[in-house]
């Protein structure tokens, strides 16, 4: 599987490394050229020597997305630090590039829930944290 990850921060880079380790082809796009460092912490080889791709560019730039391989991506992960950016590029990936698997990180539970109902596959860390915290508080309580 060819996976394109847009937004290579803590979350994006961790997914990228896992997917590469699992034998997938992985390409990351980030506006910060230094973000590649997150892919190389604790590794003896560079990200690219290990077979990963890294492109510098902003998420809305079609040229950058194409350079990062969006046209042949089987899966797309939108994990920049902006909810709105993620929601917009996920829809571009889905509608313009017809990528079969598109996953979006959305921090705001309200927007995550609504866009999920519109057919996007959203993951809301905030909602997960709320549920886990609630469960932790109630654990063992009468």
């Amino acid at each position: 599987m060819f996976v394109l990850i847009v937004g290579c921060g803590r979350v994006g880079s961790a997914i990228a490394r896992k997917m590469l380790a699992a034998g997938h082809e992985v390409s990351c796009l980030d506006e910060d050229p230094e973000a590649i460092a997150l892919l190389e912490i604790g590794e003896s080889e560079t990200w690219e020597d290990r077979g990963g791709m890294f492109t510098v560019g902003t998420a809305l730039e079609i040229d950058a997305l194409i350079e990062a391989g969006i046209e042949r991506a089987d899966a797309f992960v939108a994990s920049t630090d902006g909810d709105n950016t993620n929601l917009v590029i996920a829809q571009i990936a889905q509608r313009r590039f017809n990528i079969p698997k598109v996953v979006v990180r959305v921090l705001d539970p309200a927007r995550a829930a609504w866009y999920e109902r519109q057919g996007l596959s959203t993951v809301c860390p905030t909602q997960k944290a709320i549920e886990m915290l609630e469960a932790a508080v109630l654990e063992g309580a009468a």
């Binding site: 079609i62 709105n84 950016t85 929601l87 829809q91 705001d108 309200a110 609504w114 519109q118």
Partner: protein
Amino acid sequence: MYIIVVGAGKVGWNLARELIGKGNEVTLIESDRVRYAVVEEELEHAVHYGDGSELWVLERAGIARADMVIAVTGDDEDNILICQVAREKYGVERVIARCNNPRNLPHFELLGIKPAVSATDLILRLIEHEVPRYGFLHLLDLPQERLEIIEIEVQEGSPAAGRQVQELGLPDGSLVISILRDGTGFVPLADSVIEAGDEVLLVLDTGLEQKIMDRFRPSVEAA
């Protein structure tokens, strides 16, 4: 009309003031605390503080009864999202989005956000009209139909001067629809001869401009 304007930068603030002056009810939403305080001194309760892409902020502003939502923040993603949510979630009939970077216009189109207004694009077009390059004028754009109509002034030394329409070697997807000469226009035939000084109107598929200009522009050596 009840209008919600998101983004109280120069565009949003002035827009809100004008719209209020024309008798509309307006709520302006601004997410920067300092900017909000400045604008609030003039517009008072018509300004709300908050992130206009948050659903509860839009709901607090009364989006359910809004006749129009105008998103003019400095961030194209935010403007797209605000308009999309306004129309599709809250059923607002009319939305207008500002497109800061004209290269993002296709994204607005893809997601059905229209009209998207790009000041940069408007100014570029004005410049094109005021200072026609090589006597080239964009008359009409039909992006949905992927057609445009352009006008070209045939200059002295143009390879087109003295040629019949059928000899121009125009690419497929383009057609000369009219020639303006000495103040009158006519629809040319295949063997009509083009003269220097003519203004030629063409209809063409989007993207063919460059190829067509190559047929009309005097070559670099000649110029």
